[in-house]
Symmetry: C4
Subunit: 126 residues, 4 copies
């Protein structure tokens, strides 16, 4: 049940954190998440690189997903080396030293009712 | 038409069951679903393992998807060996003894109007 | 630009046509769609089989997607050999004699504001 | 971090630009987007071809995604060789001279509250 599952390199082409929200924080705050599952028995050291339309990439942002754990990392909360600007198109590449599974989700609460989207990230070969 | 299609091992990195709902039950109750299609001629015995951020995995939860049937399993309704906590980040690995296809869906009715998301689960090789 | 792209066999594990809708028909009628792209130079003859939770599969439903065309087939409008019941969990397998690309979408207008979901279908090997 | 990731050929079977919108422009204008990530060190020259239900394909539409950049291209804004008609089913094939990652997103604001959908595009082999 805990054998490695996944890939070491993933990409999410879509990224956008709305600056506006409606509803109680933090559950209803507009946010983007990379949900990372490490189903294996070795801790995953993960580096996230953020790509933009008009400047060089930011990062890497370093996070750890312990063995047999999942981390639902909000892009809103990435602060080091720099916060991700709001209302700005971006994309991301997620690289891990052990296989993980990555899924992308956004909660958009700019209007009174929330909207949701999700997709598995793109799993790169190799 | 009924030859096996799919994989034996799938992962869903995103999981979250809101504790709040709006609208008539059970259709409009906030829920997460793993839709499992067994298009083959042999019953599928499926084991679901749930991963968390801060504790060891729960499960396996055992379900059967008969030959040439689909089961839309709500995570809300998994009770044995233990219910899945609400308002908690989780992830899941779905393992079957015959090939199946797995798709992930959430209906979120925390606000007055519902929101939906879906994605094919990640199909592991091997 | 018009070389074949895609697979001959696809599966969608999730299916559910709500019987209720809000808003002007047909655009805002709750519906499920299989969008099929035939980017090649040969007409695609497509057979759709519908799987249920508690009965044998229905179909095949036959549709044609001409060369260099897309068909956004609403499951609501499949009538032969039998209509698909509303408010019922189902799944589908889509088989074509030439490579096509299949994407699954639902518009749910049961509540006042619509909700949308989409995912690429699962592409079977072979 | 900047090695090539992705494929050279992608397809999106679903496409539909609603002619109606609610809320402030351009953020809340109903739109469809192909988010393209070029994580590599060579500029990507991308050709988009649009397929319809009842006529020959339109395009190619030419866009460039510079090295280490992402472009979130709204289909609404493709004008050359011809704009994409509103309220019309379409599909698209995206071809690049270097590997890229493509994700499909729609914001539908026809009703008072917006709805969102997304999926990774289908990555063709070869």
């Amino acid at each position: 049940m805990t054998a490695p599952i996944g890939h070491r390199r993933w990409a999410i082409a879509e990224g956008y954190i709305p600056s506006e929200s409606n509803g109680p924080e933090p559950a209803m705050t507009s946010h983007e998440t990379a949900s990372i599952l490490n189903a294996g028995d070795i801790d995953a050291h993960v580096a996230i690189t953020i790509f933009f339309g008009d400047r060089e990439p930011a990062g890497p942002y370093q996070v750890t997903v312990p063995a047999r754990r999942t981390l639902h990392q909000r892009f809103n909360e990435l602060e080091d080396p720099e916060p991700i600007p709001r209302d700005t198109d971006y994309a991301s590449v997620i690289e891990s030293d052990v296989p993980v599974v990555v899924q992308h989700t956004r909660l958009d609460s700019r209007q009174a009712e929330n909207a949701l989207l999700t997709t598995m990230a793109f799993a790169a070969s190799g």
